[in-house]
Structure formats: C-alpha cells, structure tokens
Amino acid sequence: MTEKDPRLEKIKADLEAKKKVEAKTESIHSKKFEGTESMSTGLRAGAELITSILAGGLIGYLLDQWLSTTPLFLIAMLVLGVITGFVNVWRTTQNIGYQVGYKDLKDKTDNNTIKKDG
C-alpha cells in the first residue's frame, strides 16, 4: 500500500480531471433548467392555494346540502381548505415537492433545520 504504482497514479489523476469536467458540464446543464424549475414552482404554488380553498368550500357546501347541516361543514371545510392551501404552498417552498408525508424531509434535513409547525 505504501509504494505507489505510477500507472495507478496516472489513472487517478485522469479520473480527477474527468470528474472536474463532468461537474462543470453538470452545473451548466442544471443552470439551464434552473429558470424553468423555479418558474414552474411559482405557477404551481398559486394554483394550489386557490384551488384548495375553493375545493374545500365546495366539498363543505355539498356535504351541507346532503346532510342539511348548513352552515356547519361549509365553515369547517373552508377553514380546512385554507390550512391545506397554505401547507401545500409551504411544502412547495421547502422543495419537497408534492409528496404527501414528511419522512423525506426528515431524512434530508436530519439536523435542526426541520420545522414541523404545519
């Protein structure tokens, strides 16, 4: 182990150089799509907020019609819709996408960055 094989050393150096080039192209590639990514996130967030509230209200209204409990479910589901909308927007900004659940987030940020106030 202590003696160095010149051939191995050369391969190692080549590999390092290649990795550097690859990392560079990778960063250029990812930069190209960065604008698209952030713009699509923005487009998603707005729709998420509005439809959550509207869908919550609609479900509540229909439940009220069905069980004739106006306006109990309308209010409850509207509040739930608002909360859901904000949670989903928060979820988008945390860059965990739309997956239901928080396990991924916990795995990704195993230290104190996690906020579980949702």
Partner: protein, 241 residues
C-alpha cells in the same frame, strides 16, 4: 371589437346525436385529431432512418425522449421506467394542445376544463387504483405521515386527505386557467390595437409580440408541470413512505 371569448366556442362540425347525448365531432375534437396526427407523423419521420449522427428531426425527438426520461428517472426512480410511455403521452398531448393553440385561427383544446379535467381524473383514478393494487389497504398510510406527533394527527390527516382529493382539481384548473387567461389577454390586447388605430395602436401590438413569446413559454411550462406532477403522483402510489 371582436368578442375575446369567441375563440373558446365549441362548434360542431359533424353533428352526431346518439340516444339523446350530443356526440358531435367538434372543432375541439378536430384539433385533438390534428394533435394525434402531428405527433404520430413527427415521431414516425424522426425514427424512420435512425442514424448514429442524428439529423435535426431525430435530434429533436431524442431530446424530447431524454427530457421525459430524465424527468421520470429523477422523480420516480428506476421503478418508473414502465410508466414512461404514459408520462410521455401525457406530455405530448398537453404540449401539442398548447402549442397548436398558438397558431392563429386554431382552437386550444386545453383551454377547456372538460378536457383538462378528463385528463387529470384519468391520471388520478389510475394512480389511486395502482396504489390499492400495489399496497392494498396499506395505501391509507399515505394520509398518516411518519414522524408526526400524536397530538397533531387529527389536524394532519384531514389536511392530507383533502390535499389528495384536490389533486385532480389543481392539476386541471391550473392548465385550463393558464391557457384560457393567456389567450384571452392576447385577444384583448389585439382588440386595443384595432380600437386605437394605426398610430397609437402599435403600442399594444408590440406588447402583444412580447405576450406571444411569453405564451409559448407558458405553453411549454404547463405541459412540463402537468407531466412532472403526474410523475410525482405516480411515485406516491408506487413507493409509500
């Protein structure tokens, strides 16, 4: 000034009525047919003579393939390979619907909620059935995320159920609203041009030039968002966490 909403009007081309249900072949159906024809013809030409060094059409088709393949790989993982044809089809249908709508005098079928809701519900039902087939009743654990304290569960579970149920709504409303609003705006600005005459009317016209470029971007982005969200929903059903 022309009615800006006229462009969304569905007009029957071949009226068909079966059992009291209107099944007419409309301008919307016609543009869907055109989208199918364009995609099939384009892909056939692109893959007709595959070369080691691709020509322009082949390079474009391969770029599209790799774009979606990368999306599926990044969002679902290697298990998602069998769903690639579905995601690719969804992407092409939405992209062509948006892009063909940019041609003057054409019809944008993605600007109707009936179409987008149909697509979104198909995806939603497919994903839900797939989840139940793969995981059985364990699929319900999707609504009860791991690592949530007991005290928060009565709040988290309804939120998760509602976020799951509104998925088809968000998916369809986003696409339809964006396409409709964009086309409406173009038409309204074009109307301003007509009203203001030759001199001052050039201002909204130049604004419209920028808007059309923006619309093309939105057309692509909405197809991208639609496809990527389908991927994310599929991932939830394939691997529960």
């Amino acid at each position: 000034m022309a009615d800006p909403l006229k462009q969304f009007k569905i007009e029957p081309i071949v009226p068909i009525e079966i059992g009291g249900i209107d099944l007419s072949f409309t301008n919307s159906s016609m543009w869907m047919m055109i989208a199918v024809a364009v995609s099939v013809i384009f892909m056939s030409i692109a893959t007709r003579r595959p070369a080691m060094v691709p020509n322009r059409i082949q390079a474009f088709a391969e770029g599209m393939y790799e774009f979606i393949a990368g999306m599926v790989r990044d969002n679902i993982g290697s298990k998602g390979r069998e769903y690639f044809p579905m995601i690719f089809t969804i992407f092409v249908v939405v992209l062509l619907g948006n892009m063909l709508g940019m041609i003057p005098y054409s019809f944008t079928y993605t600007s109707h909620i009936a179409v987008t809701m149909g697509l979104a519900l198909a995806i939603f039902l497919f994903v839900t059935i797939l989840g139940f087939v793969k995981h059985g009743t364990h699929f319900f654990s999707l609504f009860c995320p791991a690592g949530v304290p007991w005290a928060l569960k009565p709040l988290i579970i309804p939120i998760e159920v509602l976020s799951y149920l509104i998925r088809p709504v968000t998916l369809s409303v986003r696409l339809f609203a964006n396409m409709m609003a964009g086309h409406l705006m173009l038409k309204v600005f074009a109307g301003f041009s007509v009203l203001m005459g030759v001199g001052l009317g050039l201002v909204p016209m130049f604004f419209n030039v920028a808007l059309i470029a923006f619309e093309v971007l939105i057309a692509f982005l909405q197809a991208y968002v639609f496809a990527i969200l389908s991927c994310i929903y599929l991932k939830d059903a394939i691997e529960l966490h």
